[in-house]
């Protein structure tokens, strides 16, 4: 398969680009929700428009009412979200949760997917326990209780947790903390008794929660996939979320780079456009080169995932690590090349820097995924 968008994908990219430029712009979305102190950090009206556009169901099977598309298509929407810094529950709901729910039984899919498709529901995922992403270790316990389970533990960095109608929780039903087996995924409704969340505003103005499960009792029908066999569902969900985050990161990097290159063509100092200075030209050209390579890694990983290839996992980590470093470079160069104005809240480049930082940390930073590339390559 050729490593560029086919005609249908190019059409989707056009419509996503137009839609998010019109409806998801920084001034009307990110700044608006930030400056009005919105408790969700995003707009529900826009989320419903995502539903009308069909975007919410890109990764939902056609039998379940979705579009039955793949990670390339989800990535197209995410890149535009990234470029516009649009606050949206798309990644947690339509990529992560949708992938996990797709592995669930018919009852579970019928319970949650219709609300997702219309943009009425928001979902979150609770994986991390601690400040760094370490899904190999899961200490949150789910003990058998009657017909169901009783969950106890703490989760961190639950993006959109406070706004979610349902949160997917990875918990241990058997074995030791670092075991691969013995994990089970649960769909936990927001009003489950014993569930409490402490919402915190992050550097990029998104809202995450510290989540406490204090003996949360769930019926057996909250289980997604197999009991004790949740690692496969979790891995699938993580792959989807990581390549999604990488695609969004490409958008963030591209937005920052475009803004910066435009600035180099407008700002004058010493009687010249600063873009005439070779010291800046070479740095901009290096950034361009890194960004092109990052995009290639992302589309390669997306296609491998969509084809169900074994090597997809390695390429997903390559892409997440590569994009992590590139987007970081893009926003650092962006602020530096803008000079003083880049330090002001009024100017948008700093917003890219903040978003990049939060996105890079989500589902494993560049160091985590670089380590994973070494391990998956056998060293």
């Amino acid at each position: 398969m050729a490593l560029y968008h086919n005609d249908d994908q190019a059409m989707l990219a056009d419509s996503a680009s137009q839609f998010l430029a019109d409806e998801g712009a920084i001034n009307t979305q990110l700044r608006h929700w930030r400056d009005t102190g919105c408790k969700d950090g995003f707009g529900h009206e826009l989320w419903k428009q995502f539903g009308e556009m069909g975007f919410t169901g890109i990764l939902v099977a056609e039998d379940d009412g979705g579009l039955g598309m793949g990670h390339v298509e989800a990535g197209i929407v995410l890149e535009e979200i990234g470029r516009n810094l649009t606050p949206s529950p798309f990644l947690t709901s339509s990529v992560l949760a949708a992938t996990a729910l797709g592995q669930g039984n018919k009852d579970l899919r019928g319970r949650y997917l219709p609300g997702l498709l219309t943009g009425d529901s928001v979902f979150a995922v609770a994986i991390d326990e601690g400040a760094k992403h370490r899904p190999e270790r899961i200490a949150t316990k789910a003990e058998r209780s009657g017909n169901g389970f009783k969950l106890s533990g703490k989760k961190d960095f639950v993006i959109h947790g406070a706004s979610a109608d349902m949160i997917i929780v990875a918990a241990r039903t058997s074995g030791a903390d670092a075991d691969r087996d013995g994990i089970t995924l649960f769909a936990v409704p927001k009003d489950a008794s014993g569930l409490s969340q402490d919402a915190v505003r992050l550097v990029d103005s998104s809202i995450a929660t510290h989540l406490v499960l204090d003996g949360v009792v769930l019926d057996g029908d909250a289980v997604i996939g197999e009991i004790d066999g949740g690692r496969d569902v979790l891995d699938r969900m993580l792959n989807a979320g990581r390549i999604g985050a990488a695609a969004e990161g490409v958008g963030v990097a591209r937005g920052a780079m475009d803004m910066t290159v435009n600035y180099l063509k407008q700002r004058k100092q010493f009687g010249k456009l600063i873009g005439e200075f070779q010291g800046l030209q070479h740095r901009a050209a290096h950034l361009y080169s890194e960004l092109e390579i990052s995009r290639a890694a992302v589309i390669k990983a997306q296609q491998l995932l969509d084809a169900g290839a074994e090597s997809a996992e390695l390429m997903v980590s390559v892409a997440k690590a590569k994009v992590g470093r590139t987007a970081n470079l893009a926003v650092r160069e962006g602020v530096q090349m803008h000079g003083g104005i880049g330090m002001t809240d009024e100017y948008d480049i700093g917003l890219y820097m903040k978003r990049d930082r939060a996105l890079a940390e989500f589902l494993g930073d560049a160091n985590y995924h670089t380590e994973r590339v070494a391990q998956l390559s056998g060293y």
Partner: protein, 387 residues
């Protein structure tokens, strides 16, 4: 699609029948590479039979038209052939600057007569070509070159000096930039072709830091070149040169290779037994970049085929690919430790690691320096201001 699958099975059968086992081993050194030319000798019977089979089938230059010695394959078929050859690790039957550089320029700018004559010779490996571009005073600023051809009616008399002429001492003919109008910088250069045996041509190998001499100085002392031996138009050789540099950059960037896309960290671990943690981290960061670049190489080739790549994109590929290759060899040296310092011991194959490491330092200089590549990216792709 069905036709393509038929083509694949035919190709597979043909390769089975014609590519000897010995030609399915990785290329170990220069002797394993067949460059063709008047003085060429085959290293083995297998090398000869593989080469001859490919010439007969047009597979030394599969995408060139049949009339010029190729097989006339379309891009999809050419990709299938590449895939099938790479599947069995088949060596290239013929390596040549004629195939990589002069050929594409002739296909675009040559007359029909030139195509039939020169392309045929290249495809059959009869003539080995070298490239006369750089001069001692004209490296990155190539257009300042001074080698001059004086118009004598039916011929030019060429005087001057070229440098970094790859394998000039083994080449039969040269394609050479010669100034034919001193008053006109860009439109005063002619792209000439002439025999290296012409009286007045001398070559002198240059000893490099690697201890090898792949490059030469080439001197022209009253060399007579007939007035019909040029490509494109007289005084318009710069257009041909620029076009050809694009091909050179693609080649150096290794975009077509695809053989360098596996992680090196595991190979280094096998080789050394253990990796210290900081080196391991550096290897892992390198592997991330190399695997990502591998995807970029694939994307670039896919896009070029359908005209989706930016025309200046080869400059980006060349820049990133060569910088990456230099890093790769720095890591080989670090992982190798003191063993990698040995210059001519038998155990190290005569210092393969350090000589290879030193050779890569030229990657980001030859065919346009990294700095020139960055200039081109900023002007032509990012459209930053300036002259």
């Amino acid at each position: 699609m069905a036709d393509l699958e038929t083509f694949r099975s035919e190709t597979r059968a043909w390769l089975d029948a014609n590519c000897p086992a010995e030609m399915r081993q990785p290329v170990r050194d220069e002797e394993d590479v067949y460059w063709g030319g008047r003085r060429a000798k085959f290293k083995s019977a297998a090398q000869k039979s593989w080469f001859e089979a490919c010439v007969a089938k047009g597979y030394t230059v599969p995408a060139w038209p049949k009339a010029y010695g190729g097989a006339g394959l379309d891009p999809a078929q050419a990709k299938v052939l590449r895939e099938e050859m790479s599947r069995i690790n088949a060596r290239p039957p013929l390596s040549s600057f004629g195939i990589w550089m002069l050929g594409p320029a002739l296909l675009k700018f040559g007359t029909e007569e030139q195509k039939v004559h020169f392309l045929g010779e290249i495809a059959r490996g009869e003539i080995r070509w070298c490239q006369g571009y750089s001069e001692p005073g004209s490296g990155s600023d190539l257009v300042s070159m001074q080698t001059f051809g004086e118009d004598k009616g039916d011929h030019w008399v060429v005087n001057g000096q070229k440098i970094w002429t790859s394998y000039a001492d083994e080449a039969d003919w040269i394609f050479c930039l010669v100034r034919t109008d001193k008053a006109n910088k860009y439109q005063g250069i002619t792209f000439m072709l002439f025999d290296m045996e012409t009286p007045g041509v001398t070559t002198k190998p240059i000893l490099l830091i690697s201890g090898n001499s792949p490059f030469c100085e080439t001197f022209f002392d009253d060399v007579k070149v007939p007035k019909d031996q040029f490509v494109g138009e007289i005084n318009r050789g710069w257009d041909v040169a620029k076009y050809l540099l694009g091909h050179e950059r693609e080649m150096i960037s290794g975009a077509g290779g695809g053989d360098r896309t596996s992680a090196i960290g595991s190979a280094m671990l096998r080789h050394t037994g253990e990796l210290d943690p900081i080196l391991r981290a550096e290897l892992a960061m390198f592997d991330v970049d190399a695997l990502a670049y591998g995807a970029m190489g694939e994307k670039f080739l896919d896009e070029i085929k359908v005209g989706k790549a930016h025309p200046a994109q080869p400059n980006m590929m060349k820049y990133a690919g060569t910088e990456l290759n230099k890093r790769r060899h720095e890591l080989f040296m670090s992982a190798g430790g003191s063993r990698a310092l040995e210059w001519d011991s038998e155990e190290t194959g005569g210092g393969k690691t350090p000589r290879g490491w030193l050779r890569t330092k030229a990657n980001s200089i030859e065919g346009g320096t990294s700095e020139v590549m960055l200039n081109v990216i900023s002007k032509r792709i990012l459209e930053l201001p300036g002259d």
